[in-house]
Structures are given as structure tokens and as C-alpha cells.
């Protein structure tokens, strides 16, 4: 953050970036790709089952099917279809490169190398994404900056924070990082979980063609926002949380301060009343003196 971007009397407390392991969700996609590529390479080339994989198309199919199945399961569990499309893209990319190279018999060597290469590329992209995050905690506000190509920025003043949500996974507990979501008065930082259940029923076997579809929806408010708009995977988590909470606390009037303000108000009211009384008294004095003069 440049000096000219600072407000009057603003001091920077901390400049933070997410912990290298805080994007493990994305990194695990690459880890699985490496593990599955190497395992398949071993199965096809060195294991006792290698005779089953003499047909290169079978190897390619097994690789693709497992990728798709894992992609679908992971997408359903995390409610993010991008995982499925990520694996689908890798599978299609692999087929295209294989056709382009024109040697489909080398599938057993191609798959492990391709998997490892794509995963390394994936790791680099995740790292680039992680490094694009920058959180600035000052004594007046929190500035969230980010974006690889399109730059995004969010500024949140402490007096506008209504609630603080914080979470720490097992990796976070081990390595000391965690995520802090400041929820603003306008509910920025709150997301919703939607679930929908559906089922089809076919009545009868041949003639009765009744098909029913039953569904239901449920929405649940939950603290969630993009990593650019939260303090994602910050280290050291406990210290940062304390700093943010102290700053928020400092910008809110406490019970004692409220009592002091009301007491001061009362005093001001009394003083006003006294001033009015004095004015009245001086007026009445003036009137009597005028009367006396007239008399």
C-alpha cells in the first residue's frame, strides 16, 4: 500500500497474505491428479495386472473414468461443479495431445508424465492466485486487495463490522493459520447454502407411465465470501484475530462510554436550564430596573 493511499492519521498494523497451505482444497485436486497418474503408470507398466492393460484405449478409458467419477463426487460434496469440469478439461486435453502426437501406443508412459506436468502447472497457478491476495490491516480499516488479471479491492471500516466469523481447519490448527470473515452491516460476507432433493417414481412396469418428481429446497445463511473479501488463511491466526477484534471493539461505544455520554448529556441539559434561568432572571431584573426608572 502506497503512502498516498493512506488516510489521515492512518497507520498500518499488518500486511498479510494467505498461508501457502491455506488453498489446500485447490492443491489437493493437483495432488490427486499426480497420485492417480503415478498409480496408473505403475499398474500399466510394472504391476502384476499389466497384462490387462495391453490395449492403450483401455488404459485411457480407465484413467478418464476414474477422473470423472472423482470429479463428480468431489463436485457434489463441495457443491462446486468446476472440479468436474477441471478434470474433464484435463481428460480432453490429454486425448487431444495424444492424437496430436499421433502415438497412442505410448499411453502408459504419456499418462503419468502428462498428469505430473499438468499438476505442476496447477500448483503454479494456485501459488500465483495465492500471491495475488493482499490484506492490509490499519488502525482505521481493513483493505482487501487481490486479482491476477482484474484487480479487486474492498475497504471495510471497523465501525461497519457487525460480526466476525472465524474458522480454522485441522491443517490450520497444525500450522497456525485460519480464516477470518468480517461481516459488514450490509451483510457483505454472508452467503447461503442451497440444497435440493429430487426423486422420480415410475408406477407400474409396462402400461402405466406415471412419473413423479418430488423436490424440496432449503436455504441456510452462512458466513461465506470469496477469498479476496475475507482474511483467508492468515498467519498467525490468533494474533490477527485479536488485532481485528480489538480494533472493532475500539470503534464501538462500550456500556461505560454510553453511560458517560448520557451523563454528559444530562449535565449539558442542566447547564442549558441554568443558562435559561439566568437569562430569565437577568430579563426580569432589567424589567424591574426599567419600571423603577419610569416610576
Amino acid at each position: 500500500m502506497n503512502q498516498d493511499e493512506l488516510l489521515e492519521n492512518e497507520q498500518i498494523e499488518k500486511i498479510l497474505s494467505p498461508h501457502p497451505l491455506s488453498f489446500m482444497g485447490l492443491q489437493s485436486l493437483c495432488i490427486f491428479l499426480i497420485l492417480w497418474g503415478i498409480l496408473l503408470g505403475w499398474l500399466v507398466n510394472f504391476s502384476e495386472f499389466k497384462d490387462y492393460f495391453l490395449n492403450p484405449w483401455l488404459t485411457l478409458s480407465v484413467w478418464g473414468i476414474i477422473l470423472m467419477v472423482v470429479g463428480v463426487i468431489a463436485s457434489l460434496l463441495t457443491i462446486r461443479w468446476r472440479i468436474f469440469f477441471f478434470y474433464l478439461g484435463i481428460f480432453i486435453g490429454g486425448i487431444v495431445i495424444l492424437f496430436w502426437l499421433g502415438n497412442s501406443n505410448e499411453v502408459s508412459i504419456f499418462i503419468p508424465f502428462y498428469s505430473v506436468s499438468v499438476s505442476i502447472l496447477g500448483f503454479l497457478i494456485v501459488e500465483l492466485y495465492r500471491r495475488s491476495h493482499k490484506y492490509i490491516i490499519s488502525n482505521q480499516r481493513i483493505v482487501f486487495k487481490g486479482g491476477v488479471i482484474t484487480k479487486q479491492e474492498r475497504t471495510l471500516r471497523y465501525d461497519k463490522i457487525s460480526d466476525i466469523n472465524s474458522k480454522q481447519g485441522i491443517l490450520g490448527q497444525i500450522f497456525g493459520f485460519g480464516t477470518i470473515i468480517p461481516i459488514s452491516v450490509s451483510s457483505f460476507g454472508l452467503g447461503s447454502d442451497n440444497s435440493f432433493a429430487a426423486g422420480g417414481v415410475q408406477m407400474g412396469e409396462k402400461k402405466v407411465k406415471f412419473l413423479g418428481l418430488f423436490g424440496g429446497g432449503k436455504e441456510l445463511q452462512t458466513p461465506r465470501t470469496r477469498s479476496y473479501y475475507e482474511l483467508h488463511g492468515v498467519f498467525p491466526y490468533k494474533d490477527i484475530k485479536k488485532i481485528v477484534e480489538n480494533q472493532v471493539q475500539g470503534s464501538v461505544i462500550t456500556q461505560y462510554q454510553q453511560e458517560q455520554v448520557s451523563f454528559q448529556k444530562e449535565q449539558v441539559d442542566i447547564q442549558k436550564q441554568m443558562r435559561d434561568l439566568l437569562k430569565k432572571q437577568s430579563k426580569s431584573n432589567d424589567n424591574t430596573s426599567e419600571m423603577d426608572e419610569k416610576i
Binding site: 503415478i38 505403475w42 510394472f46 485441522i170 490448527q173 497444525i174 500450522f175 497456525g176
Partner: protein, 358 residues
């Protein structure tokens, strides 16, 4: 039946119980030793300590939950973190059921990780090693049978470990699992603040409490063991020895995994003495030397190449570690050792200092 009736009726069933308790205590000693090692490196390896604490707490809570499930107490809440775990029952059971769920909590962590490894081992080693022999009815015969069963299993298990192929994904996965389990077997908390409820002494106190304050249940347990033993004899089934043999196997697996974890902790402790980036060199030497050796043996095959690769890798790592330690530690060491300097000074105490200054 060669033994006396007293031996068969009274002493024979005790042989296997004593055998299992003996192995369990050996396991406890290794656990205490591991705890000492971990506390020694705790200041430099906070993440590792937290990870091992998490594994320990996880196994303990799993055993607790298993105990409540078995006794039909139900689970109302389940919470696991790096330094604390809690399982609450739906119904608080008293009497024998409550005692059983407590027994699961205190004894389970010593055996549950072993069961997980044993299941994996079933797929990896020859099933001949799992055959259980049964030949006798007396105390000594039972003890010998128990020993033979443990020996057969141990030889198979150690044979597998010494011929393990670390380029085989399942073998490598098994080794990683073994190390993780070794860290998790310890039901003790390592940290700045001692947590009594996740400590071995706490567990032992509770076991002692359960034994001393509920002697009737212990008597019932022993009585069940005796009845089970008699039924096994009369029906000529080796169920009694099978159960205790499996418990013995679990102890052996735990002890082996603890020994491997000790080796890793020793490596970590020694590398802490190396300064700078060269600290990571011993960790790099392990995979590089192993892959290099396997490549050599791939082109020039020899018998026992897996074992030789493994042993040579350990040897090369040790050599690398010693060289780095010698190179990096105490720069003020003299070329001549102190005893020789004393001899030069003909016994005068200040002579070595004078020679070094000179």
C-alpha cells in the same frame, strides 16, 4: 492331555492373558520413550507435535465413540481438534455397560491403530503367516503356542518390512500409514501446558481405578475368559488362542510402528543440530539414494535387491548425517584430542589451554 488337571483347569487360561499383558507393557515403554523424544524436539517442530497430538486425540475419540456405540449409549456430540477431543453419550450408562465403554476409552487407543494396520497387512503379505497353530492344553503349552503364533507373524511382518519396495505405491502407502499410526498410538499430549485427560498416567490411573473399584467386573471378565477357554477345549476349536494371538499381533504391529517412528524422530532430532539450509540434505538423501540404487539394480539385477537398497539407503543417510554434523558443529574443536594434550602437559591441568592458545 499331558498336564495335571489343576494346570489345565486353573493356570492354562492365564498363559495367554499374561502374554498379552507382557506385550502391552512393552508397548507402553515404547510409548513413553516416544513421548520423551517428542518433548525433546517440541520447541523446534510445533507443527509435527500438533499433528501427532491430533492423531492421538483422533484415535482416542474414535475409541470413545466405539465404546458408546457398542454399549448402545449413543453419541450426542463428537468433537476433535489438535489438542482436545470430546465425545458425549446420549444416555449415560452405569454398571457393566458404563465400565465397558470406559474400558474401550482407556485400552482402545493401544489397539485400534494396530487393527487398521493389520487389515492393510492382510492384503500385502502372504496369508500363511496368519495361520494360527494350537497344540496344547496346559499353561506351558498354551504359552508356547502363543509364542509360535507371534513368531510366525513377526517373521512374516518383518520379512515384508525388510523387503519392502518403496517404488510400489501400496508398499509406500503402507509405510506412511505405519508411521502415522506410530505417532497416533501415543495417548499423551505434548505441549506447553500438560493436559491431564490426554495423558498415559491419566489412563493408567483410570485402569487402576476400574480394576480396584470394580473387582466384580474383573472377576466376571476372568470368569468369561475361563468359560471361553473350556468351551474352546471341549469343542476342539482354537477360538480362545485366536483372540489372544490377534491381540498379541496388534501389540507387535504397534511396537514395530513405534520403533520406525523413533528412527524418524531421531533423524529429526539430529538434523536440528545442523545449521542452515544443509539441514534438509539428509531428508533429500533418502529418496535420491533409494531411487538411484533401485535404478542401478534395475540394470544390474542382484538377489535381495530391495533389502540391499533399503539398507544402503539407511547407511548412506547415516554417513551424510555424520558428515554434516561433523562439518557444521563446534568450529573450535582442536585437531588433537584432549587426552593427548593432557599427556603432552604431563598431567598439568592448564597445559591443554596453553597449547590451544599457542
Amino acid at each position: 492331555m499331558d498336564g495335571s488337571p489343576i494346570d489345565i483347569v486353573i493356570f492354562a487360561p492365564l498363559a495367554l492373558i499374561f502374554g498379552v499383558i507382557l506385550f502391552w507393557f512393552i508397548q507402553l515403554l515404547f510409548i513413553e520413550s516416544q513421548k520423551y523424544f517428542l518433548s525433546q524436539i517440541s520447541h523446534n517442530h510445533d507443527a509435527l507435535i500438533k499433528f501427532s497430538n491430533f492423531l492421538g486425540v483422533l484415535f482416542q475419540t474414535m475409541c470413545h465413540a466405539l465404546g458408546y456405540t457398542v454399549t448402545k449409549s449413543g453419541i450426542s456430540s463428537f468433537y476433535v481438534s489438535v489438542n482436545y477431543g470430546k465425545v458425549s453419550p446420549k444416555k449415560v450408562r452405569r454398571g457393566l455397560l458404563g465400565w465397558t465403554s470406559n474400558a474401550f476409552l482407556f485400552i482402545g487407543p493401544f489397539f485400534i491403530p494396530g487393527i487398521l494396520i493389520l487389515i492393510c497387512l492382510l492384503f500385502l503379505i502372504n496369508s500363511d503367516y496368519f495361520l494360527i497353530s494350537y497344540t496344547g492344553y496346559t499353561f506351558s503349552e498354551n504359552f508356547i503356542s502363543f509364542g509360535i503364533n507371534l513368531y510366525n507373524f513377526s517373521s512374516g511382518f518383518l520379512n515384508f518390512l525388510f523387503t519392502i519396495d518403496l517404488l510400489h505405491p501400496f508398499h509406500l502407502g503402507f509405510l506412511i500409514l505405519l508411521i502415522f499410526m506410530g505417532m497416533g498410538i501415543r495417548p499423551s499430549f505434548i505441549g506447553e501446558k500438560n493436559q491431564e485427560k490426554v495423558d498415559m498416567i491419566y489412563d493408567l490411573k483410570n485402569i487402576r481405578y476400574n480394576i480396584l473399584h470394580k473387582p466384580v467386573y474383573i472377576l466376571i471378565l476372568i470368569l468369561i475368559s475361563y468359560i471361553f477357554f473350556y468351551i474352546s477345549i471341549l469343542t476342539e476349536q482354537n477360538l480362545y488362542i485366536t483372540i489372544f494371538t490377534i491381540l498379541g499381533w496388534l501389540s507387535i504391529i504397534s511396537i514395530v510402528s513405534l520403533i520406525i517412528t523413533h528412527m524418524i524422530l531421531l533423524l529429526i532430532k539430529l538434523t536440528d543440530n545442523i545449521k542452515g539450509v544443509s539441514k534438509i540434505l539428509p531428508y533429500l538423501v533418502i529418496p535420491v539414494s533409494y531411487v538411484f540404487l533401485r535404478l542401478i539394480f534395475f540394470y544390474y539385477p542382484i538377489p535381495y535387491q530391495n533389502s540391499i537398497s533399503l539398507l544402503l539407503t539407511i547407511f548412506i543417510t547415516l554417513i551424510a548425517l555424520i558428515i554434516l554434523l561433523k562439518k557444521n558443529t563446534n568450529k573450535f574443536k582442536t585437531n588433537i584430542d584432549m587426552n593427548s594434550l593432557f599427556k603432552l602437559g604431563k598431567g598439568r591441568r592448564d597445559e591443554p589451554r596453553r597449547i590451544i592458545r599457542k
